[in-house]
Symmetry: C2
């Protein structure tokens, strides 16, 4: 076998293997996104949903490592605000009487929670619910902690599992019964103004989180009728998932005012010696963030992980030829050690399988960079570099390679983010023509902004026009809390009642 032929062989096999495998095992992402999504979670060892209880899955090794990076990003931001958020952990079980105390919140949850009624064979005196969110677990305790304005602001968060008694219509990472990864921050303040400031901080934190993941979003204030029960207002981060073009609520931020502090008697002594109830905010993010990483950066070959969350940034695949195995393995091993020492998260794939199968394996798992080293490369003192996100192979001289790889990771990070954002932007449409808007949503083209008056009745009438149509709410550019100056539109009229209005609202389909 001549060198030339030999060198071509693994490449060809790789392509063939990849393509044939993909056709056999991963459904087409464009035409069958739902199936593709389930299948990639399974095949890439992220979550295995074959557990004997619907809506509950097992985080496998690779997925758990992505989850770790995701949580690191979150913790790093929350721990390092000028006044840090303190991580805490509250009990999972909430006694019924305590849970029922906040009627306004519970209204939304009591039929959706799991109830523990027995300890062993003995019925419990008071039944216990599995937290669907932790306000009622936290606030009675916080009422014991806060005494004076000197204890404020208090910023806390926890990352824990939550439970919702969902119907049969569950969806991996998006609508589940055990939300394994729910981050909820709860903050306590002296005044309304401090709450507004906190809302701004929360928005910035969430922007940073999703930007780090390369996940695009829209910031939208939910309509009054879709506000978190008890809150003054709710601001949501929605991401329009590609392929389905439906909005996924990825995070919510609530200004709670004094509703809960009055119910749970969280009082403090003010600077001038009076008593007042604290002002509160809370904001949550779940494992939907990971669903978004998968959805935004996937393709028919599998995942494309942004380096920020990639458990492995670089995989080295030795290109082995007869009688040269030892040489190649030695160089690969040395290069592996070198990259490791430089701080890269690197894996050397020494498994006994074809090169093509290795390519396929790591492409599926979205490893950002593949380095190939074969006898030819050793001769030329170079490495071959293949990036996961765009096609093409580059040969890089060894002595420039560290810097090259480091820059390339940065480049992949930005490029994934940029292309996701570009696609996301194209899914947002603005029109004054309601028919056109409804047609756009009906054809699953994305989210539309229409002129709107803000009345629930008008919204209901419009929502009736199309199954699944929802009012997402008011775009961030109109929100006083987030802008120094708020834009007011001119010469537009509510799409239903035709009153003159000053804002467009967002409508669309959502998960």
């Amino acid at each position: 076998m001549s060198k030339k032929t030999a060198k071509k062989t693994p490449k060809k096999v790789a392509k063939k293997t990849s393509k044939s495998k993909i056709q056999n095992t991963l459904p087409d992402i464009e035409t069958n996104f739902g199936e593709w999504f389930n299948e990639i979670l399974f095949q890439a060892d992220i979550i295995d949903y074959r557990y004997n209880l619907k809506g509950c899955g097992v985080w496998k090794g690779y997925g758990f490592k992505i989850r770790r990076k995701y949580l690191e990003i979150m913790r790093d931001l929350l721990d390092n605000t000028p006044i840090p958020h303190e991580e805490m952990l509250f009990p999972l079980l909430i006694p019924e009487d305590q849970f029922m105390k906040e009627k306004e919140t519970v209204k939304g949850f009591e039929s959706e929670v799991y109830w523990v009624t027995h300890g062993g064979l003995t019925p419990l005196d008071v039944k216990l619910c599995l937290r669907p969110t932790s306000e009622t677990a936290m606030y009675p305790m916080v009422a014991k902690w806060i005494r004076s304005h000197q204890d404020l602001p208090l910023k806390t968060y926890q990352i824990a599992n939550m439970f919702r008694f969902e119907g049969k219509n569950t969806r991996p990472l998006i609508r589940v019964r055990e939300i394994t990864t729910f981050k909820e921050a709860h903050t306590y303040h002296e005044s309304k103004e401090d709450c507004s400031e906190q809302i701004r901080e929360a928005v910035e934190i969430y922007k940073d989180i999703f930007d780090s993941l390369g996940v695009p979003y829209l910031i939208t204030q939910r309509p009054k009728w879709d506000t978190f029960p008890g809150a003054d207002y709710t601001i949501a981060f929605d991401s329009i998932l590609p392929h389905t073009n439906k909005a996924l609520q990825n995070g919510t931020i609530h200004n709670l005012g004094q509703t809960f502090s009055k119910t749970f008697d969280i009082k403090f002594e003010t600077a001038d010696g009076n008593q007042d109830y604290v002002y509160q905010t809370c904001y949550g993010i779940s494992e939907r963030g990971i669903a978004s990483i998968v959805a935004f950066h996937g393709d028919n070959f599998g995942l494309k992980l942004p380096p920020t969350v990639a458990p492995i940034e670089i995989v080295i695949v030795p290109i082995l030829f007869k009688n040269k195995e030892d040489d190649v393995m030695k160089v690969c091993n040395d290069y592996y050690k070198k990259l490791k020492k430089e701080g890269f998260k690197v894996r050397l794939d020494t498994r006994k399988m074809s090169t093509g199968r290795k390519y396929f394996h790591w492409e599926l798992r979205g490893v950002p960079i593949r380095v190939e080293i074969g006898p030819k490369d050793i001769e030329k003192n170079q490495i071959a570099v293949v990036r996961r996100d765009v096609k093409g192979k580059n040969f890089i001289p060894n002595d420039e390679s560290i810097k090259y790889l480091s820059n390339l990771l940065e480049d992949i990070q930005q490029s994934l983010h940029k292309s996701a954002k570009k696609r996301h932007d194209e899914l947002i449409f603005r029109t004054n023509d309601l028919e056109e808007a409804i047609d756009f949503v009906d054809k699953n083209k994305g989210i539309v902004e229409i002129p709107f008056c803000g009345e629930e009745e008008c919204a209901e009438s419009i929502e009736k026009r199309l199954d699944g149509l929802k009012f997402l709410g008011i775009p961030d550019r109109y929100l006083l809390v987030l802008n120094k100056r708020v834009k007011k539109e001119k010469d537009i009229f509510c799409s239903h009642c035709m009153k003159p209005v000053t804002q467009y609202w967002r409508i669309g389909k959502s998960y």
Copy 2:
């Protein structure tokens, strides 16, 4: 006020404040360890047990940070074994039929678990238990993952919350209803020999964990009648807590053989093409490790944290005098930045309160090193260094201080470990005289080794002699799996039946 008087004042106040505070708030550790333990958890912001459900507490900011370090140590060791342990996460809820499948294990648990019977107002078709441990959640899934000997060994672990329906007699971090921090490793192997090798690896991991915490232990194989249901044998890490001198089971390691793989049908194709059931081990550690840190390193002033788990290694307290505040604050701030840059976990205490109260605050929380900087120190270009574990103050020239502090942390770590070990060693006694042994245990002097035959009947007879007396089991020096050569004692006779025996066994009181 002369400089001399001024300088003395804060010191005196500090001592007075500390002492008077301590007398008022922390019970005496020697005579009232139980109360001291509860109180220090509360006062040092570790866990607040005033939650409205017995046996469930809230991890507060400072405690949560200790817990983080504790888990980091664990993860670091498990992730970096030659064949890494992969972290995963399994569902909390286990359907009744699945849970009941392993009768032998469940025997131990069915009356001790919480049962979820309702979703909203609807009774569930199959009731769900909250995991008391995860064998029955994991093994049906693992049966789907393992196909061939090439999939072995598989080493997995998870860190999650567990639930036990305990009686009213709960105890913070030691006997709780929600175990918030349970690490369980589960491993799968081709052969019995591989299991033995894994047991040795597990023992080494646990040694490393407890050594890092400065927590002493005894390694003991549990008697047959106290082996984990279904296991071939169980090896436990017990720590004899100071002051009560009772054994706390801090970790267990089980050789499961093929019991579970047969029940859950976890089969693999062997290298020679046959089918066999996998061989398994599992090993667990809980938040009792944190209880041990508190217990072993506490005193009447509060915690003494080993630097490995200290959220703050060094606290800087500015010594302020009128008209010199700005100078001192500037130097403190610069020094704070310097230490931070050097990688120390450091806090600068700028709160508006007396120096004495600050000393008290940080002593209670066990911060290993306090640095004081006042006008005199600035003049002399020095810092004052006070270590938490032993009395005394040292003045260190500024330009030697980084190295000094770094060495001091190492020294404190070792010194805490050493003194805990010394005290622990003194609580272990060996005698051939049963009366003496029982008297030793009865007087709460610790753990005794007595000659013993290994028969359950003999053990029962001896246990009857003293309320709370338990057979802990066989010391590690006699265990074949852990030793190349096993010691055989000569000329000793079972303390009950008087048969000639070759081993001493450990007996004592336990938590």
